[in-house]
């Protein structure tokens, strides 16, 4: 999109689109940079600025080249600007977000948190986007959570799921320093969201980094404990419907095979099991398509930002 197009859209919103919101991206690493590319395409969000802490970092340079104001002076700089953004998308680390979150709230900026800090309500668009509150802080869980919680929810809306477990495998190259320093937060936040958003009685999450070259496409496996007499046809139908819903905003979200059903076993406390094998091929906005973990996270976050814009327009 050219600068002229963007200018035109700012003054003449497309019909029914409501007011455009401005948004800053804090943390221009892999996730922040991928998100920037997506927000530049948005018809509901203008990018206010990109904020980092490392002068000359690749993310800041890319933002400048795209015509976006970029600063290496951190959140202090952002909050000193004459016009503050409506939204901030934060993709730093859990620790950094915990420090920044109260400052955004004080400044009246709604935070969409892409770190596993998880201070605000957990959001997974196909499950609970419609019930979004006006909370000052919304958490995007984790990439593995965005890829798997829709499936846990699809199963738990058909049968009770006392336990669900997910395994997320991502290419090493797509895991930046924030992700690497926050492995525990990743597994804990994802596990909590499998319960609270996915609807499982108990959740467990596992993340694996794989350095193979050429890089492996993001893969996710969802295991759910289900009753021995579960209606497998209904579960399969629910899973397939959900895959189609996620594919609306992540076109590369696909099933590797039909859901696999295994009968009850003693070591599973007499429960049966469904296993769902997913592949998440990214849009290639920043890193190449193997980095589906970036794509599903940023596409989901952009969707949440746009939903907030729509709500503000109608309220």
């Amino acid at each position: 999109m050219s600068e002229a197009d963007r200018g035109a859209r700012e003054t003449v919103p497309s019909p029914g689109a409501g007011r455009r919101l401005s948004a800053a991206i804090v943390g221009p690493g892999n996730i922040g940079t991928d998100l920037l590319v997506k927000l530049m395409r948005s018809e509901l969000i203008d990018v206010h600025s990109v904020v980092g802490v490392i002068p000359g970092s690749d993310g800041l340079e890319r933002a400048r080249k795209m015509g976006v104001e970029a600063s290496a002076e951190g959140v202090d700089w952002l909050l000193k600007q004459p016009t503050l953004p409506d939204l901030v998308f934060e993709s730093t680390s859990a620790k950094a977000h915990l420090a920044n979150a109260p400052r955004y709230e004080e400044a009246g900026i709604t935070a969409i948190d892409l770190t596993p800090a998880a201070t605000g309500p957990l959001v997974c668009p196909p499950v609970n986007l419609d019930t979004l509150s006006d909370a000052p802080n919304l958490n995007m869980i984790t990439c593995g959570g965005q890829a798997t919680i829709p499936i846990v929810h699809a199963v738990s809306s058909v049968v009770p799921v006392p336990y669900a477990e997910i395994v997320a495998s991502i290419a090493s190259r797509s895991a930046g320093p924030g992700t690497r320093a926050n492995i525990d937060e990743f597994t804990q936040t994802t596990a909590r969201a499998i319960e609270k958003v996915g609807g499982a009685g108990r959740g467990k999450a596992i993340i694996i980094l794989n350095p193979v070259d050429p890089p492996m496409i993001m893969r996710d496996t969802v295991f759910c404990a289900i009753p021995p007499d579960a209606d497998t046809g209904a579960i399969q139908e629910s899973v397939e419907k959900m895959v189609a819903e996620v594919a609306v905003y992540v076109p590369g979200y696909t099933l590797r095979a039909e859901p696999q059903f295994d009968g009850p076993r003693d070591i599973w406390n007499g429960m049966a099991r469904v296993a769902v094998f997913l592949e998440v091929r990214g849009n290639g906005d920043y890193l190449p398509p193997w980095a589906g973990n970036l794509d599903i996270m940023t596409a989901a976050a952009a969707r949440v930002g746009e939903q907030i814009a729509r709500r503000k327009a109608t309220s």
Partner: protein, 344 residues
């Protein structure tokens, strides 16, 4: 080897951790107590007790434990009079919270394992272990997958993060003699002046003991074994073979030869369902460089989807899957079955 007395090495026995794979993670408290009692009496200084995939490993993906890890660690601590109890954890599977619970149960050594290129995911865990006052060991798994200099740099990251020893871990049993020697030498050169170096061998190509000897001769001071070779793939370097071998070489281990042979023969062998063996699947793992723990998972998938286990393992090796990706075994089995159906 006769000109001067060799430095003492420390044997860590992993029967109750790596051996857990071969037991489908179904160790009983009674078995744990029996093994710890015998190893402790024989003078083994460190005994590792955890689910095969480490703390938090009990899962659909890796297999559910019969008994909770923390309960088994507490029993082992209770049984040991001299030995330290170690626990394994893989960042991404277990967490600092799991480590704290194990420490509360009396675990004294934290062994933090990552794939050989991903050492930086272990930093929060080394820091936590040191804060808890635990001895720390880094575990660079699948060490055959990178060149010695790359491995040495990863060992440096772990030492800078707080590891007091870093192991070269031959998870696939794929290192062939000189491969082990070169990796140990490179890691010793990088960290040897400030931390120890260890070696963890597997028997998929029957080289666990030979590689351990080469490791010691190149500066490793900690060596892993398991009684009756009980472990993933074709099993680990047998502790009861390592100890007499090192004694013959004049390398002190502090372990009693008769005691450790008795532990293997009288305590472990009677409860084994099958002795670790280099069958076609296990040899394929050593040959193709596949994570040893995948063996039983591949056998189960082979039975469920009617495709040969060694073909699954070969494909898994070609895809470059790493430790922890047990779910990919089912995926590969499904793809192989689909290929067969298309061909027939």
């Amino acid at each position: 080897m006769t000109e001067k007395t060799a430095e003492k090495i420390r044997i860590t026995d992993s029967t109750l951790r790596d051996g857990s794979h071969a037991m489908a993670h179904r160790f009983t408290e009674e078995q744990v107590r029996g093994v710890v009692h015998a190893l402790d009496a024989a003078g083994v200084e460190v005994i590792e007790v955890t689910h095969g995939d480490g703390l938090g490993g009990s899962s659909f993906n890796y297999g559910f434990s019969l008994e909770d890890d923390v309960k088994l660690v507490a029993a082992a601590v209770d049984e040991a009079t001299r030995a330290k109890i170690a626990v394994l954890m893989l960042p991404g599977v277990g967490t600092v919270e799991d480590l704290k619970l194990a420490h509360d149960a009396g675990a004294a050594v934290a062994r933090i394992a990552t794939h050989c290129t991903e050492a930086d995911v272990s930093l929060q865990h080394f820091a936590a272990a040191r804060d808890l006052g635990m001895e720390t060991v880094g575990f660079l798994m699948m060490a055959h997958r990178v060149e010695p200099d790359v491995l040495a740099k990863q060992a440096r990251i772990m030492v800078d993060g707080g590891a007091q020893c870093v192991y070269v871990v031959d998870s696939a049993g794929a290192l062939v003699l000189g491969d082990a020697q070169e990796r140990i030498s490179a890691v010793v050169k990088e960290i040897g002046h400030e931390a120890q170096v260890g070696f963890h061998g597997h028997q998929n190509l029957s080289l666990g003991v030979a590689n351990s000897v080469l490791a010691q001769q190149n500066g490793a001071l900690q060596i892993d074994g398991a009684l009756c070779a009980l472990g993933a793939g074709a099993g680990n370097s047998p502790t009861e073979v390592l100890v007499p071998t090192f004694e013959r070489l004049g390398v002190p281990t502090g372990v009693d030869v008769q005691g450790v042979m008795a532990a293997a023969d009288e305590v472990v062998k009677p409860f084994l369902h099958r002795l670790p063996f280099a069958d076609r699947g296990a040899i394929t793992q050593g040959y193709a460089g596949v994570y040893s723990s995948f063996l039983l998972h591949a056998e189960r998938a082979a039975e469920r989807y009617e495709v040969p286990a060694h073909e699954i393992l070969q494909k898994v090796g070609e895809a470059g899957y790493v430790g922890g990706q047990e779910d990919m075994i089912i995926d590969v089995a499904l793809q192989l079955r689909a290929e067969r159906e298309r061909a027939s």
